[in-house]
Amino acid sequence: MVSRKTILIVVFLVTISPIFGVILSEAVGYHEPLDIVAELLGLEDRTEDTNWTPLLDYTFPGLPDTVGYIVAGLIGVTIVLVLGHFLTEILVRKNV
């Protein structure tokens, strides 16, 4: 089972994450280094055309970036734990 302490650590990390992932990022004008390379080469950014997820780049539709980043983070953590749980069940059962 997930200990209370671990949950606190994860919630704490996700809650402060927009400070780094959104606020400081905007403050220093951050762009992915590979995106800059693509721009230099004159390649077209087709992320929006090929995108399949409403949670692109840790955003949540309709929410400001900072809050969206936290919500996206919590969704991500939950999906990781649920997938991990299913994988555990499958792998352990196969063993029996």
């Binding site: 951050y30 997820t53 949670l55 999906i79 734990l81 555990t88 352990v92």
Partner: protein, 207 residues
């Protein structure tokens, strides 16, 4: 470190997918026959913690950023096979749910962060005797991410998508991860020292 879509050519994308799929099948079988429910549960929880930690993206003036990757930490804490599974969960969710790392580059991203980083981190840590485990974890985190960065440089350099060859991509990716990797090493070492003091049983990778 997360390669987006469009940077790898078909050959590199296919080859890295093939390596990661074969590796994943082998890892799942191995864990299935030897892993306990407890260890697998620990792997999922560590995956959740690493996922959250990776969201703390430190942008650096000059256009790059730094975030903890955690592959070496997963290898040290869980052993290489469960460590792979932990990182597999993180990278899969990042790719499929958040489009962080391209779907065509998923094989390469798994190879770099869930295989190379995890295994090199684990084996570097292992060669150090008990009293120097903090140093082992530091070097594991540092060298693990540097090797992953070099692998990333090789994949980008070999791909015909980018006009830059290996002579540019490998030194750039390698050096950059070597410099910033000191911090990965420091975080990995602090986390391992903390776990060794508080609950050393978690680090028993023989189970």
């Amino acid at each position: 470190m997360h390669i987006p879509d469009g940077f790898l050519d078909v050959t590199v994308a296919t080859l890295t997918y093939a390596i990661s799929i074969v590796f994943a099948i082998y890892a799942f079988r191995r864990v299935s026959s030897s892993g306990s429910r407890d260890r697998l549960a620990t792997a999922s929880v560590l995956a959740a913690v690493i996922f959250a930690a990776q969201m703390l993206n430190w942008p650096l003036p000059g256009g790059t950023s730094l975030h903890f990757v955690g592959g070496a930490l997963a290898g040290v804490v869980l052993g290489p096979w469960l460590g792979f599974i932990s990182m597999f969960l993180v990278i899969l969710v990042q790719c499929l749910v958040f489009h962080d790392g391209g779907i065509t580059a998923l094989g390469a991203n798994l190879l770099n962060m869930a295989i190379i980083d995890v295994f090199s981190g684990y084996y570097l840590y292992r060669i150090f005797p008990d009293r120097y485990k903090a140093v082992g974890a530091f070097l594991g985190g540092w060298i693990g991410i540097t090797l992953a960065g070099i692998a990333c440089g090789v994949e980008l350099g070999v791909s015909s998508q980018l006009p830059y060859g290996l002579s540019i991509t490998v030194p750039v990716m390698g050096w950059w991860h070597f410099l910033l990797g000191v911090i990965e090493g420091a975080i990995t070492s602090s986390a391992v020292v903390y776990i060794l003091r508080r609950s050393p049983h978690i680090l028993d990778t023989r189970r």
